[in-house]
């Protein structure tokens, strides 16, 4: 049990902000504390780059505005780390891919803009599997992030750097992206809260696209109240993303505190053979506690869920192959020095710039969209996706939430799955279904198995983020 990691030097985000606004603490000190902590945990490789100059400038500006009696916002002086697939000022944005090395963003992601507008300060960019392709950060073109609980193990991915940074206590929160489990899995592996909102609730503008139809943006934190506050700030319609939706009228803070009479469906397919006994018992214990707190537990089955992974690994590479087309070496990022015509320039720039997982997904995606194969793969996968959404809707007529583990196993050893991409993809088996249906889902720390964190996954119908956060909040209290 890593008791050192369960304590944080950061108070709640709300109180950090209040203290800065009241002049009790200084934004500059907070930013420096973040950098000092980062330095002390350098060996974990949680970040790719810092935005130090800009962060310190912003911190000083906030402190001087406080001095003048100006109101800063709900996140005054709160330092955070963004996954390096968020476009930010103050340094490079690489998505952990060589093809974007040296890229300086000309604009910032909407989520970053909204956080900055409330006084939050981005101090660094977190490591990830390049372009979000992976479950361990081993697919980063730069280096692998180590699990804060065991340096021999992966932090999960693809938002592994973000999860590790929170648990290493560098910052009180980090931003991640979740396409098939990329927030929930590292949160589960590192013992953080990882929140994947309803699809469209947070703008994707300025976030490097992986699979556009399932890409979501959310916070990684130490507790639900912090995650809820961050979601409250970054969510809602954005004129730069046509798929965004309005946030809940009540917002995501001041959550209900009881779950009496709420029905939680335990997904049979989530608790099957492949689930590690240690993980299973932690989930069962947690569910028992939720029952004690007034929830009603119902066993449910979603037959199509067993096919969700196959469906995901057709739709996701299809969209990836399309979304990565723009990295052609002509306008930004890596351009090959190999001479030749434009075709050669494309081929060399992309061959040199993309890592092997990106290439694998481009090839698969190109294949499943090719004429003659489209119907057999992409179209079939879309049909299955529609069926899965229907089954989710039907189940949610009977229960309020679904529950199960985030992952069948705890954090695996670095290198264990790297030679076997299929095994690596299987790690996503329990997280991809809510990604395909667009449902909100959260990973809440549910204790440890053999010294490694276990996360319980709670899922709600689309748009019911507020209810889900309330359940998650109760869950963290009963554990």
């Amino acid at each position: 049990m890593s008791s050192v990691l369960s304590k944080s030097q950061w108070p709640s985000i709300a109180s950090i902000s209040t203290d800065v606004q009241n002049g009790k603490s200084k934004a500059l000190d907070l930013v420096e504390l973040a950098y000092k902590t980062l330095e002390n945990s350098n060996e974990f490789n949680s970040v790719i780059s810092t935005t130090k100059k800009r962060a310190i400038g912003i911190a000083k500006d906030i402190d001087s505005r406080v001095k003048k009696g100006q109101k800063i916002g709900k996140l005054a002086g709160v330092p955070f780390i963004a996954k390096d697939n968020f476009l930010t000022f103050g340094g490079e944005t690489t998505a952990a891919s060589n093809i974007l090395k040296g890229f300086n963003a000309p604009y910032q992601a909407t989520a970053i803009e909204r956080l900055e507008a409330e006084g939050a300060i981005c101090v660094a960019k977190a490591n990830l599997d390049a372009f979000g392709h992976g479950a361990s950060t081993e697919n980063s073109d730069f280096y692998t992030t180590k699990n804060p609980h065991d340096q021999k193990r992966v932090p999960g991915g693809s938002s592994g750097g973000s999860a590790a940074a929170v648990i290493l206590d560098i910052v009180p929160f980090a931003l991640g992206t979740d396409t098939g489990g990329s927030i929930r899995l590292p949160a589960s592996f590192c013992g953080a809260v990882g929140y994947k909102p309803t699809y469209g609730l947070v703008s994707r503008s300025g976030v490097i696209a992986m699979a556009s139809s399932t890409d979501t943006i959310g916070p990684l934190t130490r507790n639900i109240a912090d995650a809820a506050l961050i979601l409250d700030i970054i969510s809602g319609k954005d004129e730069l993303d046509g798929t965004t939706i309005e946030k809940d009228k009540l917002g995501y803070t001041n959550l209900p505190t009881h779950i009496k009479g709420k029905k939680i469906g335990i997904v049979a397919e989530f608790m099957g053979k492949g689930v590690d006994p240690g993980v299973r018992s932690r989930i069962e214990d947690t569910l028992k506690e939720l029952k004690n707190a007034g929830a009603e537990l119902v066993e449910v089955s979603i037959p199509s869920i067993s096919l969700a992974l196959a469906c995901y690994y057709i739709i996701c590479p299809a969209e990836v192959s399309s979304n990565l087309s723009r990295y052609d070496g002509q306008r930004y990022g890596h351009t090959s020095n190999m001479s030749g015509n434009i075709e050669d320039s494309y081929n060399w720039s992309r061959s040199e710039g993309f890592g092997s997982e990106a290439k694998r997904r481009i090839l698969i995606g190109t294949y499943v969209l090719s004429s003659g194969y489209y119907d057999a793969y992409y179209k079939k996968a879309q049909t299955l996706r529609t069926k899965l959404i229907k089954e989710f809707n039907e189940i949610f007529n009977k229960v309020d939430f679904l529950a199960g583990p985030v992952s069948p196993v705890t954090a695996f050893k670095i290198g264990q799955n790297i030679k076997d991409p299929l095994q690596m993809w299987l790690v996503d088996i329990l997280t991809v279904a809510p990604s395909l249906t667009g449902s909100p889902a959260v990973s809440v720390p549910a204790g440890y198995s053999d010294g490694m964190p276990v996360g319980i996954q709670l899922i709600a119908p689309t748009g019911k983020d507020r209810d889900l956060l309330a359940l998650a909040s109760v869950t963290e209290k009963v554990i």
């Binding site: 944005t93 046509g242 192959s321 087309s325 723009r326 075709e343 090719s370």
Partner: protein, 489 residues
């Protein structure tokens, strides 16, 4: 009934794809100006047009509105449900590596364009029309080892209108292109400025001696009605010549060399891409409500068909009607609206129509016209009154009109102005009688001829009277007085 143009018993079959730039303020998916006409290269761009990482397309609702209007112009209704897809290929002027277009659920399905060729009316059916974004513009400087890309045009909304292969001659092809132009201009969905490439035609031409269609070629990027006509002629002849020699027509994409008036091969079908279309996940499907569709229909301006009916009632021929229809959208002058205001007074409406066709339009075409619409319209009404009351001859009316419309102001009283300028006719019998007497005395031979029954010679005498009166005599009155003084009937 199709009129098939046959050469050596070959039937020519043509289908036309037309790209029309919609007149939205901003691009199809980015809040950047859509008017690239006089802009420096790469000044009308944003992170979206550049395909920056993380940039998302957001659909411009105005483009949907205009496309829905175009549906009515094409005699159909817009589809309630449509969606956008990605079409993939690599090219430097396509920053995202895919073009956003509508693949299998376009905003328009069906419709028709009514054309008249050789006086025979015929409907050309529309297969579909879909919205898509334009690519940027590539230029390849001669002798250089680089190319230049201008992305100002990237993301401009286009409506691609695809006709059925129901066109069977170059004349029909031209008539179709022209009518499509009128429809889009009258629906006010596009500036359709051919010079700026707002409207570009691709013609698919095949020839066959049987009922089975022949192998077709596609000649791309024609930007005038004339080049549409010429390209169809050229392709038909080229293909017939090939077949007559026993060769085969290749399915290929061809370009048009306007200087040589020839098509040339660009790429064959073997080079064709697999575009890997799939629904664009960044753009939610488009759903139009019944109310939305109804409102668009309600606000649709008067279309060419309706104008034709109105103008037909003024006994104008087809070519005169076409002149008015085209001139209305080619200049700022509101010919049709002016005529329309006076439909309750048929003679006046007819006068205006004839006046525009014979006098105003040629002058406007010669760039000799300055006076603004509301002013010259009141001038026209006054001229009509003066002609009707015999105060102005048609010759003088034209001279007066030409003189005034070259300036920017209208005289306070047009009649006074015309009088001081000597345009008003003298209708005083006494004055004219005196001149007639003089002219007859000075031209005894002509006078005798006329008196002897050679009525033709009266024209000469009237001419002399007009000359002596400095053009102010009423010619009808002069003729009457000649006959009177010579005691003819």
């Amino acid at each position: 009934m199709h009129i098939l143009k046959k050469e050596n018993n070959y039937t020519i079959t043509v289908g036309i794809e037309c790209h029309i730039q919609l007149k939205t303020k901003t691009k199809l998916f980015a809040a950047v100006s859509n008017d690239a006409r006089n802009a420096e290269p790469n000044t009308l761009i944003s992170h979206i047009c550049l395909g920056m990482p993380g940039a998302l397309p957001v659909l411009n609702e105005e483009a949907i509105h205009l496309a829905a209007k175009a549906a009515f112009a094409l005699g159909t209704v817009p589809q309630k449900n449509s969606k956008f897809d990605r079409k993939h290929y690599f090219y430097p002027d396509l920053p995202k590596g895919y073009q956003i277009t509508q693949f299998d659920q376009p905003i328009i399905l069906g419709g028709h364009v009514k054309i008249a060729s050789n006086g025979v009316a015929k409907n050309i059916n529309i297969t579909r029309a879909h919205l898509e974004e334009d690519a940027g513009k590539s230029t390849h400087p001669a002798g250089q080892d680089y190319s230049l890309v201008d992305l100002n045009r990237a993301g401009t909304p286009l409506l691609e209108i695809v006709s059925e292969p129901e066109i069977h001659s170059s004349a029909e092809a031209k008539a179709y292109a022209k009518e499509l132009y009128l429809l889009m201009r009258y629906a006010d969905v596009s500036d359709a400025n051919l010079f700026y490439g707002n409207m570009r035609f691709d013609v698919n031409v095949s020839v066959s001696k049987t009922n089975k269609l022949g192998i077709r070629s596609e000649t791309k990027n024609l930007n005038s009605f004339k080049s549409v006509e010429k390209a169809v002629d050229y392709e038909a002849k080229r293909q017939i010549d090939l077949l007559e020699k026993g060769d085969k027509v290749l399915q290929e994409t061809r370009g048009w060399d306007d200087a040589k008036q020839k098509t040339f091969s660009q790429r064959s079908k073997e080079d064709s891409h697999d575009y890997r279309y799939f629904p664009d996940p960044d753009i939610p499907p488009v759903e139009l409500s019944d109310k939305y569709i109804k409102n668009i229909q309600k606000d649709l301006p008067t279309m060419p068909e309706e104008w034709r009916k109105i103008l037909n009632s003024l006994e104008l021929n087809d070519s005169q009607i076409d002149t008015l229809l085209i001139s209305e959208v080619d200049s700022d002058i509101k010919y049709l609206k002016n005529i329309n205001k006076h439909l309750n007074d048929k003679p006046m409406a007819k006068f205006l129509a004839d006046w525009y066709i014979n006098i105003t339009i040629p002058q406007v075409n010669d760039n000799n016209f300055v006076l603004e619409n509301s002013l010259h319209h009141s001038l026209e009404l006054e001229i009509y009154r003066l002609i009707k009351s015999n105060k102005l001859s048609s010759t003088n009316a034209k001279a007066l009109y030409t003189e005034i419309t070259r300036g920017t102001k209208l005289p306070a009283s047009i009649e006074d102005y015309a009088r001081t300028k000597g345009y008003i006719q003298v209708s005083d019998e006494k004055v004219i009688s005196e001149i007639v007497k003089n002219v007859l005395a000075q031209n005894p031979k002509a006078a005798t001829d006329v008196a002897g029954g050679e009525i033709k010679a009266i024209g000469y005498l009237v001419g002399q009277i007009m000359a002596q009166s400095k053009g102010q005599a009423d010619p009808a009155l002069a003729q009457k007085l000649i006959k009177k003084q010579l005691h003819i009937e």
